[in-house]
């Protein structure tokens, strides 16, 4: 389809800066003419880079009217052919539609795409909506650019140029990243925008519950007793039933733990792909991604996505978009299913085996190992070490209100490992006996901090005081680009009613909602500074905490 092939191509040459539309034109010309020669592509891309910076500066300086005129003059040379593609450009961006009609009539000469985009920045549109429109369009443009470079790389003769352009692309990572909605709950404009988006996708909006501590007013706080699925009609036509079931499992805590959640997510997506049929006049690579978007919003509403799930979704979207347009539907679907299976196999199952292999070297006979909560990876390591006849005993530390350690205790005791069980408040009592601490992670952040279940940082702190080594085990697919220094800016608030406890028939906090000055805080995650962690064991080997950005960079280059 003309539109389909042009729009991605348009974004291919866009580098990671503000929209730079002159390059759309040059790339259009090259690609619609077929696989052009290497030089044209590289030249256009280089020009594109420079011009985009100029564009940026120009856009910043000018007022709305002057800018339009200048750009019109600059772009006159390249305009005529692009009339129709340009007019097709705005519609695919749903959020920007409200501005497209205002923007298009504004510039005097319609076929100029740059003026079409420039007024986005310069028009007196409401600013909070403006920024996300720009950045959303930016992100889409980047994504298409990435896809197009991959596609260009696949074409014969352009592989080297593809690689050449990949390195500068990764260096020019966008500085302006959109702040995720789930950490902006105290901004009414953001909340309104999310509500509109969910309405469009026909997904119910989940409302917050209970009094929120002021320090965390920027985060959502939901009640487990009011799952999102109660507001859905049965059968749900918009959301696939396996996704509905998955969302309910997440929000009730039936599926918990980042590995389990990612695997469940991928299996649900496999089911979605199996049941998917491409509607007529649509292409699988574009339509399937659009179909997945409301599902992801729904799951996000049920329970905020974890870093591992985010990476898995990115991978799937990339795979889907990489399906060539001439591929048959059945073939495409089997290809996607095998991709997902391979991802699970490589990143989770085999990674666990590799990590166990490294970790078992660190366990010696007579060790007393302390673990916290229930990490599937750490349990795996301990069971394998036990099978390899290492003599050790385990101390399981647990904490209210989740009490996940009991599950880990059951699994270890079933294997025959001798275990001790304490609560986290008894940590100072039990630590003098411990020789090593093994911790699992939810995600590893780019500044070396470890994001994990709340309480992990405390264990690392006290272990450091007693000079006990702390080893964190984490697969590489959980590494993420985020940076965070404290546990406030981005966290998850669980149901506050979980903190209530009934002892001897009396529940002290029973009516906490009625007391205005009383609040309950049930955090889910916290971040551990890298100086508390001695070693991180990943499937790539044993690395210090500060090497996480190196691994991320290597991974990006590989992709």
């Amino acid at each position: 389809m003309k539109r389909e092939s042009i729009v991605p191509a348009a974004c291919a040459a866009v580098t990671y800066t503000v929209l730079c539309h002159p390059h759309h034109h040059t790339v259009f010309i090259v690609l619609t003419d077929g696989p052009g020669n290497k030089d044209d592509i590289t030249r256009s891309k280089n020009e594109g880079k420079e011009l985009s910076k100029e564009e940026k500066q120009r856009l910043r300086k000018q007022k709305k009217q002057q800018k339009k005129q200048k750009e019109r003059k600059n772009e006159k040379s390249e305009t005529e052919k692009e009339k129709t593609p340009v007019s097709l450009l705005p519609p695919p961006r749903p959020v920007a539609t409200q501005k497209a009609p205002s923007a298009l009539p504004a510039p005097a000469s319609a076929p100029i795409p740059v003026p079409a985009s420039a007024p986005f920045h310069s028009s007196p549109a409401p600013s909070p909506a403006d920024k996300p429109a720009k950045s959303k369009a930016e992100l889409k443009a980047e994504r298409r650019a990435r896809q197009e470079t991959d596609r260009a790389a696949k074409q014969p003769g352009s592989s080297s140029s593809g690689i050449k352009t990949k390195v500068p692309l990764s260096e020019l990572n966008p500085v302006v990243k959109r702040l995720p909605e789930h950490v902006q709950v105290d901004d009414p404009a953001v909340v309104k925008r999310l509500a509109k988006k969910l309405e469009r996708q026909q997904i119910p909006l989940r409302s917050d519950y209970g009094y929120k501590v002021s320090l965390f007013s920027h985060l959502h706080q939901y009640s487990r007793k009011a799952p999102l699925t109660q507001q859905l009609s049965i059968p749900s036509t918009v959301i696939h039933p396996s996704i509905v079931r998955l969302g309910l499992q997440y929000s009730q805590g039936i599926v918990a733990g980042s590995n389990a959640r990612s695997v469940a997510l991928l299996h649900a997506f496999k089911q979605v792909i199996r049941d998917y049929t491409t509607p007529p006049n649509e292409e699988l690579s574009r339509d399937l991604v659009n179909k997945l978007k409301p599902y992801i919003s729904f799951l996000n509403q049920c329970r905020p996505l974890s870093a591992s799930m985010g990476n898995a979704i990115k991978y799937i979207k990339k795979e889907i978009s990489n399906i060539p347009s001439q591929c048959k539907e059945e073939e495409a679907k089997t290809k996607l299913l095998t991709c997902i299976d391979r991802y699970i196999e490589e990143k989770i199952v085999l990674a666990a085996k590799a990590i166990s292999k490294y970790a078992i070297e660190k366990i010696s006979d007579g060790d007393v190992i302390l673990v916290y909560g229930c990490s599937s990876l750490v349990n795996n390591i301990l069971c394998e070490a036990f099978e390899k006849s290492r003599k050790f005993r385990v101390i399981v530390v647990d904490s209210r209100p989740r009490l996940e350690g009991r599950e880990a205790l059951r699994r270890l005791v079933q294997r025959g490992i001798s275990c001790t069980y304490v609560l986290i408040s008894a940590l100072s009592y039990i630590l003098p006996e411990v020789s090593k601490v093994f911790l699992g992670a939810h995600a590893l952040l780019a500044n070396g901090y470890v994001m994990s279940r709340v309480g992990t940082s405390q264990i690392a702190l006290v272990a450091r005081t007693f000079n006990v080594p702390v080893l964190v085990c984490c697969e590489t697919y959980k590494f993420c680009e985020k940076v965070q220094t404290d546990s406030f800016v981005s966290n998850e608030l669980d149901d506050p009613d979980d903190l209530m406890v009934t002892r001897k028939g009396k529940t002290q906090l029973e009516n906490w909602q009625d007391v205005s000055s009383l609040g309950l805080l049930n955090l889910v995650y916290d971040v551990t500074p890298p100086d508390f962690v001695d070693l991180v064991i990943t499937d790539l080997g044993m690395i210090p905490c500060t090497s996480v950005p190196v691994v991320l960079r290597v991974k990006n280059l590989d992709q």
């Binding site: 940590l427 009592y429 955090l523």
Partner: protein, 355 residues
């Protein structure tokens, strides 16, 4: 016979007191707070002084020591009982010395010169009989009782010097002293309190309910979130069960974690402890330091089969070393932990340290 009745009454009271102490050994702590225990002990000792048959100070001290040993044996972790016995013994010594006419200071100090000249043990054997000794001792014990009555108020009066507006204060578990301290400050200042619930007994919940009833902004957090929220805390104010002789604490479990987190973030750690909690014990006695309660609190019996294959520990107390503590606030004012040894020498006589 009135005398026999009184004696029977006294022994009955002592037995009841011991039974209460023994029952208070379960995890939720003693039935009455340590202030009440101290008062009850002192009242009982006053009765013993009044009713028991003794002719000299030495006899009285023997009787008190005997009763004291019985009381401390009932509940070794309840150190206020032993502390009060030591205070009364010190009172007896002082009154005896005053009756004899010698100044107290020279008797107190154990100087090298005294050791050499007197050849070791002091010659005092407390055998002299003084007519007014009984009255003086009872009067001094009454003074001690009035002092005990006013400890919480004395500590609470100092609250405004330490808490300013818009502070975030963290506390652990439940302490009546800290509760009074914060409520007193809340009359004039607005601040926010974060209470760590202190599993498995969750006494923090009761503390939070009481504080919020006094219109203090309170938040309850789980123990696991202590380090996570510590970066936002301005001060940590805690109570304790005992203040040890080296300035360390024997406090409810979880306090050591709070102290380490506070040191990591350079947050001051303030301990509100009345003087009757100061004990001449040192923390090195491993066997007697920790007290354990039923593991049912940690892993309930409903967990089933795995119970028999698992060791479960439920310690009640934590040791907090004196380096982690910034300030002690007691009824006689604020002190650094390095000064505690001096306060102890004023309160107790070194020969009484081992009952």
């Amino acid at each position: 016979m009135p005398g026999a009745d009184k004696e029977a009454d006294l022994t009955e009271r002592i037995e009841a007191f011991l039974a209460d102490l023994k029952r208070g050994g379960c995890g939720t702590g003693p039935i009455r707070g340590s202030g009440e225990t101290a008062r009850e002990t002192t009242a009982l000792l006053r009765k013993v002084t009044a009713q028991a048959r003794w002719s000299s100070a030495g006899d009285l001290m023997e009787i008190i020591r005997k009763e004291g040993r019985r009381m401390t044996a009932a509940q070794p972790s309840e150190t206020t009982v032993g502390n009060m016995v030591l205070r009364v013994l010190k009172i007896i010594r002082e009154e005896y010395a005053r009756s004899r006419g010698s100044s107290e200071e020279t008797d107190q100090q154990e100087s090298l010169h005294k050791l050499l000249t007197s050849g070791g043990l002091s010659e005092e054997n407390f055998r002299q009989h003084f007519v007014h000794l009984k009255a003086n001792v009872i009067e001094a014990i009454n003074e001690l009782l009035t002092e005990l009555d006013g400890t919480t108020d004395n500590i609470a009066m100092q609250a405004l010097e330490h808490i300013h507006s818009n502070e975030v204060i963290m506390t652990v578990g439940r302490s009546r002293t800290v509760e009074a301290f914060l409520k007193d400050a809340a009359r004039k200042r607005k601040f926010h309190v974060i209470v760590a619930e202190c599993a498995p007994f969750c006494q923090g919940h009761e503390m939070a309910t009481n504080l919020s009833k006094a219109s203090i902004e309170t938040t309850v957090i789980a123990d696991a979130a202590i380090f996570a929220v510590m970066s936002r805390v301005n001060k940590v104010i805690i109570g304790t069960q005992t203040v040890l002789a080296n300035g360390g604490l024997r406090a409810v479990n979880g306090t050591h974690t709070v102290a380490l987190a506070a040191r990591h973030h350079s947050t001051p750690l303030i301990v509100c402890a009345p003087m009757f909690k100061l004990s001449p014990q040192f923390p090195n006695e491993e066997d007697t330091f920790h007290k354990f309660v039923s593991p049912h609190e940690v892993l309930p019996f409903t967990e089933g089969e795995i119970l028999s294959k698992v060791n479960v520990h439920c310690p009640v107390f934590d040791y907090v070393p004196p380096e982690l503590i910034t300030l002690f606030i007691s009824n006689i004012g604020g002190n650094a932990p390095s000064y505690i040894y001096r306060l102890m020498s004023e309160l107790y006589h070194p020969e009484d340290h081992d009952l």
